[in-house]
Symmetry: C2
Amino acid sequence: MAETLPISPLAPKGGFPMLPKVEGVRFATVSAGVKYQGRSDVMLAELAPGTTIAGTFTRSKTRAAPVLDCQEKLGGASDAGAAIVVNSGNANAFTGIMGVTSVREITTAVADLLDIPEARVFTSSTGVIGEPLPHEKVLATLGDLKSGLSDRAIEDAAKAIMTTDTFPKGSMQTVEIDGAPVRIVGIAKGSGMIAPDMATMLVYIFTDAKIAFDALQPLVAGLCKGTFNAITVDSDTSTSDTLLVAATGASGIEVAGKGAFSAALFDVMDDLAKQVVRDGEGATKFVTVKVTGAVSDEDAKRCAMAIANSPLVKTAVAGEDPNWGRVVMAVGKSGAEADRDLLTIRFGDTLVAENGQIHPDYEEADAASHMKGENVSISADLGLGGGKFNAYTCDLTAQYIAINADYRS
Amino acid sequence: MAETLPISPLAPKGGFPMLPKVEGVRFATVSAGVKYQGRSDVMLAELAPGTTIAGTFTRSKTRAAPVLDCQEKLGGASDAGAAIVVNSGNANAFTGIMGVTSVREITTAVADLLDIPEARVFTSSTGVIGEPLPHEKVLATLGDLKSGLSDRAIEDAAKAIMTTDTFPKGSMQTVEIDGAPVRIVGIAKGSGMIAPDMATMLVYIFTDAKIAFDALQPLVAGLCKGTFNAITVDSDTSTSDTLLVAATGASGIEVAGKGAFSAALFDVMDDLAKQVVRDGEGATKFVTVKVTGAVSDEDAKRCAMAIANSPLVKTAVAGEDPNWGRVVMAVGKSGAEADRDLLTIRFGDTLVAENGQIHPDYEEADAASHMKGENVSISADLGLGGGKFNAYTCDLTAQYIAINADYRS
């Protein structure tokens, strides 16, 4: 299926961005034939000694074996080299002891290959859930992976981790700190089973900044809230969501958990998160849901996610119908504190309803014209307090059904 | 839209059931032209003096004006006659003070018409949210409604309250108590925006049993848990969900909140709830999700609803794909206590996975054959405790998108 889908109409118009080299990181990809044929499906990122690795992961109770392994390894000693190995086509999730064995086989072999501690090898797997991972196919390609390592192969890496994605996702920021450039580059995959809870499907970000784990980890977790934890395609949270941020320190520039570096890291995470939504299965519209006036930010998020996950709101967007009654419904069911008679709703800049009823000057043609665009904005002000949250989603189309009714066949 | 949809393939094969007359209730319907043309869209049920009326309602924070009015009136004196008035085509929801006025205009006029207290007139409205209800169209038909009252018109009543429903929904039970028959009949409407929270879209049940409000109300609320609160079509909770149970007492048989009457009332509620699912927008399969082994019934419900609401599970059912990995995903995201390695999953009678991995004897052909049927059963045992819950839903098809992308046009 993945190979035959047309590229999302919401894909960035310029294609994959030009990403600068980040000192201390090299990539390689191979075709191991885990499931897909005729395309690369394994990627290796080799990281220089001293690289700090932070991460966030799915909070699913049925987390996959590679996720549990990564979580254990986070925060360990960082003086040695490190590696990230990812395969697509099989998620190695719900595979019992076989899944644990597969992770161990791969991490041990990669540790030997690169002469680094096994505790510094992180893996992810993405694809079908519940089928044993044929890890021997991955092991057979390790020699080719090592000999193929290149500091220019990040676009290939972004392609190797795709499943139902229709385009590879990359982003970058260069930020000047103490007069010298610090680079941040990242890649991501994901288009279905997207309702991240701590992270999204698979995201890998690399920087040559120098930063300790104790500063990087809370920074990454904090920035997740408004980026990967603010997106949803279908309300379905994956067993495998993983975000790893690797800071090689090769620039020699020490950074803290705030300021220019934090802002640049946010920009990369924000861009990648929105690219995941832009590749939402069957998506034809990118939707920003802005909730303000809630009693707290948590309540605003609850409300924004209820709107963003409502099948009736999402099908109305697909039909270019400014059906604000369904927005009212979603606010009402969200569980957030709300008073029907204080509610204000806008589509784009058009004021639709105020104080619990339709605005006297509202012309449906204005809202309908906004809905015809590729970017749709739905705003709800609850009129109760200062809590706010922006969520990002896409519309729900017949193509989503078509993709998911026969993904495995 | 409602008029042109083909009848759901899951509709009861025998059509609308033969419902017995319930002494103390008469029905009438008219075409008021609220929104639909060429069909009836208002129904009146006249109830004899002394009728006890219990009910449950949506817990949405954006409840419609008629719902708020019904909630206030519940439990009042019941010696006088009573009435239920329902219009389709317009939900009178999010209509501010205009909505309150519309309710008052209708209830006052009906009270005058039937010479009963205004506090005994209950109304519901169902249809588009956010547009003012043209209540003068309803008022203009009251004379016709009164002259049309008949104790045989319940099927017409079931038809008048339909919106995107493709078939009218009715159910009955007759139960012998103290050697005499007590009758229970009910009608319901609903097919989208179905994820009831205390009740479903609109349900009216009538019985000639004699029962006090203080016994009937907790009975109805309790029976809701396993019936209307156990179904979901699209996870979207309506602003207007209303269930009213009217006991005329005309049989002279006093019943309590348990025993044979309770069992018969459950059967009627269960049947109507499942008929709502069977008319789920675009549905081609009726799905029973059984969760057992949870730490509590509440946790079992959380898990069952996560499976029943997952777009990825529902599209897999539409595609007749026994994609149990998606069931694992839904268990994991549900928030219910779960241990991946204790999980058992079945499609129909086929044991698919046990102890966190695929069963060695599992043959996909067996599960695939079950998925081809009209009734699909998905069972998950969490292996932790005695908590259990059954949820009922339908598949998610391209037809759901088609119906909802242009419902208003």
